[in-house]
């Protein structure tokens, strides 16, 4: 395999409704959001993948040299560095003055608290249904599965599959 100079590999944590998959993903200049929002592919290839069940997220159930992850059913991806999501313009749609708004998202099995960046008031419709990308960036995240609320997860940023979001609410400042 030829690696293009613009490609970098990052370690990420993928979460479905049942499993955690930790591994390496190769991405281009558009970062992880570029990869996840690429409408020409439905899968993300994860190399050197370690599979854990959500019930025991630190226990490694299997090591796989490569796993194909279905982007449509994936709930979110945690990255340790905000910049791994991709260029700022791509992540929030342009160079403008932005405001961080604390929010709560719920999906079928997760409660997710974090901040989203908007250029005006929080517009739930635009955030969840506007544009074309399936995944949106959420920063300074803390979350847990409703099935195992005693096991929290945190991240500098996540790419959240907005098609799986069931509810969204703005939180008072400092409550994210």
């Amino acid at each position: 395999m030829t690696m293009l100079a613009s490609h970098i590999t990052i370690n990420t944590d993928f979460f479905s409704t049942t499993h955690r998959i930790s591994g390496k993903v190769q991405m281009g200049a558009n970062g992880l959001l570029g990869l996840l929002n690429d409408v020409n592919t439905s899968l993300v290839e994860v190399d050197n993948a370690y599979l854990s069940r959500l019930a025991e997220p630190s226990k490694i159930e299997a090591h796989l040299e490569r796993m194909s992850v279905n982007k449509h059913n994936l709930v979110f991806v945690i990255v340790n560095r905000r910049e791994d999501l991709g260029p700022v313009g791509l992540a929030r749609g342009g160079y403008t003055h932005v405001t961080s708004v604390p929010v709560l998202f719920t999906t079928a099995v997760y409660e997710i608290r974090g901040t989203v960046e908007t250029t005006s008031k929080l517009d739930a419709g635009a955030l969840l249904t506007g544009g074309t990308g399936k995944y949106l960036p959420v920063y300074k995240v803390s979350l847990h599965s409703t099935l195992y609320p005693e096991t929290p997860f945190t991240g500098e940023a996540i790419a959240l599959n907005r098609t799986l979001v069931e509810t969204l609410a703005a939180l008072p400042k400092g409550k994210a």
């Binding site: 370690n11 944590d13 930790s22 591994g23 050197n48 370690y50 997220p57 630190s58 226990k59 490694i60 090591h63 340790n80 560095r81 096991t151 929290p152 997860f153 945190t154």
Partner: protein, 366 residues
């Protein structure tokens, strides 16, 4: 400086870790898999093991559990380094027996801070490692130079000898063998002649005897550019440890491989300084350097040495600069000048002098 074993299957990360650890002043070794790491750790050469979690054959938690189950490695400090950075991962690492956890990506300062933390957390391991020795090793150190390290090392060795102990005095100086001068010895062999491998039966031929019964591993009589290597010194220290009760090391005025090994192997390092600003500054930075080597505070004895009749800085200023009072204050002793001239150390010629008395009353770590 610590000997660090890195166990990580990532072929890109291993050389990066090696470079980072070398830049931090450590000596890294690399293993790509869990089994390989276990075998390397059991050699007893390492102060710390840094373990990746996600490895194909045996994950880092399992390697940790096996290290803890093995008596030869159960006290080895273990730092888990992993891309899995959730609190559940931290708890899993601690449950397996790791000492700490660091998430990737990390920077060199974070890594070094964690290494220092795990080293400090298991001080007993470092008292005997890496040089396994049955003797007590005492290091006398003064990076400033000219603060009386050799005089105090000779006095300490002589004091222990007079207590009936079998004592070996080692001169690590690369600049002309001051101990031979103090004791008026003409060594036929020095540490420059040491082979890489020694045992207790062969190490004796490299020692020089003093009339008092003191045995000396002398330094080359002329300044040398070829330092004593860590391997040579470790081998010598291990062999001497089986033949003596006490090993007193007059260290070099720099933290080269041999001196670093001496202070990490020592039950106690006596840090010598004089009551003047430059010496205090050097002492403070030396303490920090020792801590970065994994030498805990309790193993560092501060020794204020008055080498002239002038009183120097007041004790309050010394305490303020160092954050604590010296463990021992050695008074100026006029008799020392004559002793040096005559080549008969005070500890043998005039054991009742103030200088010898101060050393005799020193409380040393057992």
């Amino acid at each position: 400086m610590a000997n660090i074993l890195v166990v990580d299957d990532d072929p890109d990360l291993r050389p990066l870790m090696k470079l980072t650890l070398m830049k931090l002043g450590h000596t890294p070794a690399l293993a790509a898999r869990g089994e390989e790491g276990l075998a390397a750790a059991r050699t007893g050469q390492y102060h710390v093991v840094i373990l990746d979690v996600m490895m194909p054959d045996m994950d880092g938690y399992e390697v940790t559990r096996r290290l803890r189950a093995d008596p030869s490695t159960q006290d080895l400090p273990i730092l888990i380094l992993t891309a899995r950075s959730q609190s559940a991962d931290y708890e899993a690492a601690m449950e397996a027996g790791a000492d700490d956890h660091l998430a990737k990506p990390f920077n060199a300062d974070e890594l070094n801070a964690k290494i220092i933390k795990v080293l400090k957390g298991r001080p007993e391991r470092h008292s005997t490692s890496p040089a396994t020795s049955t003797a007590r090793v005492l290091a006398v150190l003064g990076l400033r130079g000219g603060v009386g390290v050799t005089t105090l090392a000779v006095t300490l060795a002589g004091t222990l000898l007079r207590e009936g102990k079998r004592v070996c005095l080692i001169d690590l100086s690369p600049a002309g063998g001051p101990i031979a001068l103090h004791l008026r010895l003409r060594p036929a062999t020095t540490w420059a002649d040491l082979p890489n491998a020694l045992d207790k039966n062969t190490v004796g031929q490299y020692l020089t005897s003093h009339d008092s019964g003191l045995k000396v591993l002398a330094a080359p009589p002329l300044p040398t550019r070829k330092p004593l290597t860590g391997d040579q010194f470790q081998s010598a220290l291990t062999a001497l440890g089986q033949a003596f009760d006490e090993i007193v090391v007059d260290t070099a005025p720099l933290l080269d491989d041999a001196t670093s090994l001496a202070v990490t192997a020592a039950k106690q390092t006596l840090l010598v300084f004089t009551p003047e600003v430059g010496a205090l500054q050097t002492t403070r930075s030396t303490v920090r350097a020792l801590i970065s080597l994994g030498v805990t505070d309790v193993k560092v004895g501060l020794m204020l040495n008055h080498i002239s009749a002038e009183s120097g800085l007041p004790m309050a200023a010394v305490e303020k600069a160092l954050g604590r009072l010296p463990d021992v204050v050695v008074p100026f002793d006029r008799a020392q000048t004559a002793a040096l001239t005559q080549g008969v150390p005070l500890v043998f010629a005039q054991p009742a002098t103030p200088l010898v008395a101060a050393i005799s009353h020193l409380t040393l770590n057992a």
